[in-house]
């Protein structure tokens, strides 16, 4: 893989992490010392994606703004990697008028039609939509593709199975990506899934699949590259499953009492320092450049947060607008 691609994957991951760390910092403002989910400038549930950056970076490197992407309840990493505007996305998370959805959507409901991005808090329910977008592309004869990202918990959902069948049946240009972080909130994969391999499930529907076991961004990049190319060539759907890592809790405020023993070895598995080391060892990156990348990311993120905070809140009457087109 060429150096510029590798650097660009690294940059994407660092940018996402800087964003999530800043959102996490802002999220706890006003929620201390006693955690109150409704308090502070960023209320509501907050699902962050630290540890899962390789999925977003590796997949989205192959997608352009004309390609559709639907995310789940944990959407920030894939939204950013797909080119959703960071400032307006941050403003949305802060519930501001200048946000992507004028403050109506919030963290789990980000919509950016200019890059065909959407997401949903209902498990697996972004998959049928992605099939429909792929159907539109196919009917129009463009080479656009659609991708849907879901967690491993979603593979037990009816929407997953129905979407796989439709996609295979209609040979849709769609890529299903499963982020297997081992956990569906507190339920480990071993307690939720009889056949743990989503790729096997895909194969049962006639959909080729690959599982990337090591959460490496390059592994995801290669597998998604093959899947996207297949879709663009009109050869139909693929499934990519990534054994990734939920570095933090299911949502912010999750004490994770259910996974004590396993947390200890998590830091060593953080994909970003790992990739950084590799790139430095192989002479693609040096310390100085790494620091510059991080500093640039932080600068961009802080500007986005400033933009959000400086934007006004929507007027109460706005609540009644947009029910119908």
């Amino acid at each position: 893989m060429d150096a510029s691609t590798r650097l660009s994957l690294y940059r994407t991951m660092v940018r996402i992490r800087a964003f999530e760390e800043a959102i996490r910092r802002e999220y706890y403002v006003g929620k201390q010392p006693v955690f109150d989910i409704g308090a502070g400038p960023v209320p509501g549930e907050m699902h962050l994606s630290a540890g899962q950056e390789p999925v977003a970076a590796g997949l989205c490197a192959h997608l352009g703004p004309d390609d559709a992407l639907t995310g789940p309840h944990r959407p920030h990493h894939i939204a950013l990697a797909h080119g959703v505007d960071m400032k307006r996305m941050t403003a949305e998370i802060f519930g501001r008028e200048s946000g992507l959805c004028h403050g109506k959507g919030g963290h789990m409901h980000l919509f950016a039609p200019e890059v065909h991005f959407g997401c949903s808090g209902i498990i697996a329910e972004g998959m049928p939509t992605a099939c429909g977008q792929a159907l539109a592309f196919k009917k129009r004869g463009t080479d656009q593709v659609a991708a849907a990202v879901v967690g491993e918990g979603a593979v037990n959902q009816g929407g997953f199975h129905e979407s796989l069948n439709l996609a295979a049946l209609w040979k849709l240009p769609v890529i299903f990506v499963v982020e297997d972080n081992d956990w569906g909130i507190s339920v480990p994969r071993s307690a939720s899934t009889s056949n743990f391999s989503a790729t096997d499930r895909g194969r049962a529907y006639g959909i080729p699949g690959e599982r990337v076991e090591d959460n490496s961004v390059e592994g995801v990049y290669e597998a998604c590259g093959r899947a996207v190319q297949r879709a663009r060539r009109g050869e139909g759907p693929s499934l990519v499953e990534v054994h990734t890592l939920r570095l933090w809790g299911h949502f912010e405020g999750d004490a994770q009492g259910y996974r004590q023993s396993e947390l200890e070895d998590v830091p060593g598995r953080d994909p970003i320092p790992t990739y950084r080391r590799t790139l430095i060892e192989e002479g693609v990156l040096d310390e100085e450049e790494a620091q510059r990348i991080r500093a640039e990311a932080e600068e961009e993120v802080e500007a986005a947060i400033r933009f959000a905070k400086e934007s006004p809140e929507p007027a109460p009457d706005e609540a009644l607008e947009h029910v119908f087109a």
Partner: protein, 342 residues
């Protein structure tokens, strides 16, 4: 210490009271079991099953995959065989993916079978907004379920009722949808509501499903409501009492059956009625209550009925938007003042 004194002393959150009711029924009856998402080690996202796994083990407190059609359907099947499953789906907003099992199966099998088959299960879930969780995690939707025949719909507002209604729901031979607003649960991580902690008797007791309670007596107008809005209405009533306006607050406690008698009795007394409903306004609870009164005797009303409900829009995320559509104490107070002409 007498029992009465102990009862007065012992205060539980609504969530703890529900768990106590479930645990007592599980001890009493081997056929009662719990299943749902994160009900085991996590203890339920809203604390509705905390501690049950430790006492009863994974055979009777079962974490499920995110397969709602599958596990809610399995609850129906077990109930058909005479077990008494309590099935939880954490947010009512998620029921769309499994609605068929609920309204075509759970709710209809008894009727379709000409009364031959019973489905004695409890389907419990959390409802309501107020903390900016957005349009897919903040709905109440109780009228949606109440509209579809064949299931009882229970919506407690306080710890004591929550325990008694839970025990009644488990013992009921019908499917009971048991809905709790997150704001009444007394959760450590939600804004504290003074009434979400209260006295709860230790022994097992039932609160009958289908009987409203008068949460506060008054003479000038009746506020008909349920769940978190009861708390808001009581706060408003206390405030207005200082100005000489006495509101009666009726806590419905269940939508199906609906205690129409209690509504008529109270409205007969006050002649004015305000319905406060955190569900969507049209085609719902407030319309049903208006119809109940008008069908009986429109002349009971000294003033047109008033309602405070969600104005038929999805629940928005941003705080000022959400506050504009939910039945806040401010909206309730304004409507109550308008109603009594103050």
């Amino acid at each position: 210490m007498t029992t009465a004194e102990r009862t007065r002393e012992r205060r539980l959150t609504t969530a703890r009271a529900m768990v106590e009711g479930i645990a007592q029924e599980m001890r009493r009856n081997e056929e009662v079991f719990v299943m749902g998402e994160d009900v085991g080690a996590y203890g339920g996202i809203f604390g509705t099953t905390t501690g049950l796994l430790d006492e009863f083990g994974p055979e009777r407190v079962m974490d499920t995959p995110i397969s709602e059609t599958g596990f809610i359907g399995a609850g129906i099947g077990a109930a058909i065989e005479g077990m008494r499953p309590i099935v939880e789906l954490m947010f009512v907003d998620f029921f769309g993916v499994c609605m068929d099992q609920i309204y075509n199966h759970m709710a209809k099998i008894h009727y379709e079978s000409g009364g031959n088959v019973r489905v004695p299960m409890v389907l419990m879930t959390s409802v309501g907004g107020g903390y900016s969780d957005g349009a897919q995690h903040s709905q109440c939707l109780w009228a949606t379920f109440a509209h579809l025949p064949g299931m009882k719909i229970v919506v407690p507002s306080n710890p004591r009722d929550a325990k008694g209604l839970m025990i009644s729901a488990i013992r009921d031979d019908n499917p009971v949808v048991y809905m709790t607003h997150k704001g009444i649960m007394g959760l450590a991580w939600m804004a504290k509501n003074a009434r979400s902690v209260g006295p709860v008797p230790e022994e097992e007791y039932e609160v009958p499903i289908g009987k409203a309670s008068v949460a506060r007596e008054g003479t000038d107008a009746t506020v008909v409501t349920l769940s978190l809005s009861v708390h808001h209405a009581l706060d408003v009533a206390e405030r207005l009492s200082g100005e000489g306006i006495e509101l009666e607050v009726l806590d419905l406690r269940s939508l199906v059956p609906l205690d129409r008698e209690a509504i008529l009795e109270s409205v007969g007394k006050t002649g004015r009625v305000l319905v406060v409903d955190e569900d969507y306004r049209s085609f719902g609870l407030s319309g049903e209550i208006a119809a109940t009164i008008v069908e009986e005797d429109p002349a009971m009303l000294k003033a047109p009925l008033a309602r405070v409900a969600v104005p038929d829009v999805p629940i928005p995320y941003a705080r000022p938007l959400e506050r504009a559509v939910l039945p806040t104490p401010e909206r309730i107070e304004e409507a109550a003042r308008g109603l009594v002409g103050a």
